[in-house]
Structure formats: C-alpha cells, structure tokens
C-alpha cells in the first residue's frame, strides 16, 4: 500500500487511458503509463505501433482524444505551459535548424529559454565539448554525420536542463559506434537524475538502458515490466532450422517435439541453452533423415518479444 502511494507521488509521468485516432484508424487504444522519477522507461514497438504518438501527446505537441495525464506533477491539458517548462524533447526526426551552425542552434534554444547571454554561451560551450561537437560548432548541419546531427539535436534539448526527457528512437539509423556514444550519453543523464522516456525498436537497447520496458503493439501496451521480467517471458535464445518444404518440417517436428513450428516460414525453433550441447543434440536427432536448408542460432530480439506476448510476429504492423 505504501509503495503504491509513493510511486504515485513520485511519478514523472502518469497517464491513464490515452486514446488517439486518425480518421477511422485507432492509433492509441487506451494506454496507461507510469514512469517513476529518475527512471529510464523504454517504449518498445515496431513501426506504426504508436510510440511517436505517445511521445507527441505527452510532450504537449498533439492532444489526446481521451484519457488524462500528469507530467512532472502538471496536468497535461490544463497546465501545458508548465509542462513545456520542465520537459525536453528530441523527436524522431531532426529538429536542428539546417541554416544555423551547431553553436548558433544551441544559442537559439538558449535565447528561447530566456537564459542570460553569459549563461547561454557557457552552456552552449559546455554541451559542444561534452558531446564532442567541436567541428559542428562552426559549421551548418549539411556537413554533419548522422551521429553528429543526433547529438546536436540532443544537446539542444539539454540547453534548458530539463528534468524529464523524451527521446524518440535516439539511435535509429546510427552505426554501432555512434549508438554506443548515444548510450553512454543517456547513462550519464540518468546518473544526473534525469527521467527519460525513450522509444526504440531494439530489445537490446531497451535491455541495456531501461529500468522498465513497455511493449507497444497496435496502440496497446501488451507487456510491461523490468527487462528481467520481460526476458523471462521470452523463449530466449533458440536454434532455428529452416526447411525446403512442409513435409520436411513435419518430419523434423516429429523428431524434435519440444521445437516450435512456424509453418509460414517453414521453420522449427528449438530452445537453446548456453554452450554447444543443445546444438549438437539437435543436429544428432535430425541426423540424415531430413534435409535442413538452413540453420542459425538466434538471440532474442523484438520479434521474439512480440511472438511471446502477442503470439504473432511483429513485422510490418504498419501495413
């Protein structure tokens, strides 16, 4: 009981029954969300799941059709101005001014935050250094790499030292190295006590960064919990066997009954523990009886999460 009350008063975001549709298409179908202060909360979902829509609603960019929400203690509808004062948003698509240099972009945001000139300059310099944007400082974004542009975008968001930050797919399109840099930046922010709502299509990313993960599918939260809780629900690593025809698949399924059949993909998925024993075992049991077209070892990803919680694959929900 005590814990429940505490969580409510400490909530950075508390949303109930958010709904949104475009025309006849229901995009959010009753979303409940509670994010504790200082937490990293990941919204995990495929294209079109409604991640951006949630971010846009909670950051006051679009109104929800139904439902209520408080953000850092302010009512989203009645106190939108106050909400804007305490949040920072880095949207899915670049919001950098392409005709201004990196430094001018930061100073522009500083002006819009009504920071005094000296503080504006100091903060801009600090962020340029922290995000290793020295080169970007004097050039317009036309010459930046994707990672640089993303970092500048985030730096602009941090000019106002927000206590709650929305990051919509902060690493999509970045190479592994830039992704690592972005993860490091996010961890540092967490260390400073900032609350973060991030969206991602990668289980690995949510797993690395988040205290809690909500899986979003077709505008509904289909699973929520800590990464550990969630991963316990996923079949986890497995060996994937692909066959040329359904007869071979049927035969293999008979030989390995603990495997999960996917008749569409002509695949058999066999749970895989650590080490090579299970693999050796599977190969031995299949033997020469069935022609295996392809064998791969699979670590859990978003698809597995979806398979586990919705019973269907996640691909192409947007279509």
């Amino acid at each position: 009981m005590n814990a429940v009350i505490k969580q409510q008063t400490d909530a950075a975001v508390s949303a109930t029954a958010l709904r949104k549709s475009y025309g006849k298409k229901v995009v959010l179908d009753g979303v409940d969300l509670t994010i504790g202060k200082g937490q990293v909360f990941a919204l995990l979902g495929p294209n079109g799941a409604g991640k951006t829509t949630i971010v846009r609603i909670l950051s006051t960019l679009i109104p929800a059709e139904a439902g209520t929400a408080t953000v850092m203690g302010y009512d989203l509808r009645a106190e939108a101005g106050a909400v804007r004062g305490v949040i920072g948003v880095t949207g899915q698509f670049s919001s950098v001014d392409d005709l201004l240099t990196g430094e001018e972009n930061l100073l522009l945001v500083g002006r819009l935050l009504h920071l005094p000139a000296s503080e504006r300059q100091a903060r801009a310099s600090e962020l340029l250094e922290r995000f290793e944007l020295f080169e970007a400082a004097r050039h317009t974004p036309a010459t930046y790499s994707g990672g640089m542009k993303r970092r500048l975008d985030l730096a602009m968001t941090l000019m106002g030292q927000p206590r709650l930050i929305f990051l919509d797919e902060p690493t999509t399109g970045l190479d592994p190295r830039s992704r690592q840099t972005m993860w490091q930046i996010i961890r540092e922010l967490v260390h400073e006590g900032v609350t973060i709502l991030l969206t991602t299509q990668y289980l690995e990313e949510a797993d690395h960064l988040a205290d809690r993960i909500a899986v979003l599918d077709h505008g509904r939260i289909v699973a929520e919990g800590t990464p550990e809780e969630l991963k316990r629900r996923i079949p986890g690593a497995h060996i994937r066997l692909r066959f040329a025809d359904s007869a071979s698949l049927a035969e293999a399924a008979r030989l390995i009954p603990e495997g999960t059949r996917d008749d569409e993909q002509l695949e058999l998925r066999v749970p895989n523990e650590r080490g090579i024993r299970p693999l050796r075992d599977v190969v031995a049991r299949i033997g020469d009886h069935v022609a295996v077209e392809d064998l791969s070892i699979h670590t859990p990803d978003l698809d597995d999460v979806f398979f586990a919680v919705t019973g269907s694959a996640s691909k192409d929900k947007s279509q």
Binding site: S59, T60, G81, L99, H114, G160
Partner: protein, 261 residues
C-alpha cells in the same frame, strides 16, 4: 517578466534567426529579390519600352516610359518576396524545428512574427536597391519629401500585407514546392493584371474590370502618382485600405493555420 516582454523577446529571437538565415542565403536572395526585378526593368524599358511608352500617349504626360514603369517594378519587387516567405514558413512547418518550439514554453506567435518581420525587411531592402538601380538607369522621380514619405509608407504597408498572406500560404500548403507554386498568382499574375506595366483602361473588357478593381492597381497608381508628381486624389487611402484588409485576412488565416498545423 510579463507576458508582453516574453512575446517581444521571443519574436526578437525569431527575427534574429531569420536574419541569420537571410545572411546565409544572401546570394540566392540577391538574385531572386533584386536581380530579377532589375532584369524586368531592363527588359521592359529597353526592349518593350519604345512601343509601350508610345502607346501610353497622354498618360505618360511627356515623361519617358521608365518613369511610368518603375512604380510597377517596385510592386513586382515586393510581390517577388512572397515566394521566399512562403517557402521559409513551409520549410519550418514541414521540418522538425517547429515541433521543438512547440514543445518549449515559447510564445506561440513568435515564429510567424519573425518570418513576417524579416520578410518585410527583405522587401524594403530590395525595393530600395531596385530604386537605386532605376535612378542610375535614368528614372527621374518628381516626388517631394512628403511624397517620398508616403511612398515608403505604402511600400511598407503593402510589404506587410503580402508578407502575412504569404506566411498563411506557406502554412496551408503541404509542401515546400507547393508553397512556392501557390504564391505565383500573387507574385506574377496579379501584377500583370493591374496597371503595373500598362493602364487598366487599355486591357480587354473582362480583364479591365478586374484590373481596375484589384488591390495591386491602387497601390501601383498611388506610387506612380506620388513619384511622378501627378495628383493622386484618394487613391493612396484606397491602397492603404486594401493593405489593411489583406494584412488582416493574412494574419487571421496564418494564426488559424498555425494552430492547426
């Protein structure tokens, strides 16, 4: 700080941003805002001017065609600023920058105020530059100091009106290319269907009525009268009334479109 101070501060910030943009696109702007009208001036004066000037007869009151032409070119110069304004607004609205601003505690109207402010500034600078070139080419205005003030006032009012209208067009068109195309009637068609190059009286009947009664004509006629020292009567008031009406419609339309965008 009061709400008014914030509004002024945020608008000034957006103005600063737009000035930076204009400086970064200076070469492009010089070509589109100054060079194009100057080329039109040369074409109409040197190539068409002989015949057109002759055809004017009494209307020209013995002055060379360039004196008749320059006020029209000035209006074209101002109208030529519509495209860039609509494009800039459209780029902001279709890009991500406006989302960043909307999610911040920035005064709502500041972005448009900045666009319109700098748009007017660009139109005024271009008008001054084109006038200077015209003077070099033999334009000889006979305006008094008071007339000049009136000219500047009308040019400013007309710029202000068209800037708001273009901002609205930039907001309602769904793409940057669309924004540019949708200002063409303003920057191209309306000037030709007015007394910009030849008197409305000389046009075919249907067009004549439209040309005589559309807003560009009183604006051109007042500028022409003031600059050539001809009596203007109440035409400048009609021009200013049109400017006020266009500015109001443009403003309300733009504000409504910005809320919806």
């Amino acid at each position: 700080m009061s709400a008014l101070t914030f509004a002024a501060q945020d608008s000034a910030t957006m103005l600063w941003r737009e000035i930076k943009h204009s400086i970064r696109l200076l070469r492009l702007l010089i070509v589109s805002a100054i060079l194009v009208p100057v080329v039109m001036l040369l074409l109409f004066d040197y190539i068409l001017g002989g015949t057109l000037g002759h055809g004017l007869g009494d209307v020209a009151r013995g002055a060379p065609y360039i004196d008749y032409l320059v006020p029209g070119i000035l209006v074209m110069t101002i109208a030529g600023g519509c495209g860039p304004t609509a494009i800039n607004v459209s780029m902001d609205i279709t890009g991500g920058f406006v989302d960043r601003i909307r999610a911040m505690a920035v005064v709502r109207g500041a972005l448009l105020a900045g666009h319109v402010g700098v748009s007017v500034l660009r139109m005024l600078v271009a008008s001054a530059a084109v006038t200077a070139v015209a003077l070099l080419l033999g334009f000889r205005p006979k305006a008094s100091v008071g007339d000049w003030f009136a000219v500047v006032g009308i040019v400013a009012a007309f710029s202000f009106a068209l800037a708001w209208l273009s901002a609205a067009i930039g907001l309602v068109t769904k793409s940057v290319a669309g924004a540019n195309g949708s200002t063409l009637p303003l920057s191209f068609l309306l000037p030709f269907l007015s007394s910009t190059f030849v008197p409305a009286d000389s046009m075919p009947v249907g067009v004549r009525w439209f040309a005589a009664n559309q807003p560009f004509t009183p604006v051109v006629d007042s500028l022409r009268g003031l600059l050539t020292g001809a009596p203007v009567g109440s035409t400048p008031y009609l021009a200013l009334a049109w400017c006020a009406a266009i500015a109001l419609v443009g403003y309300l339309w733009a504000q409504a479109a910005f809320r919806r965008a």
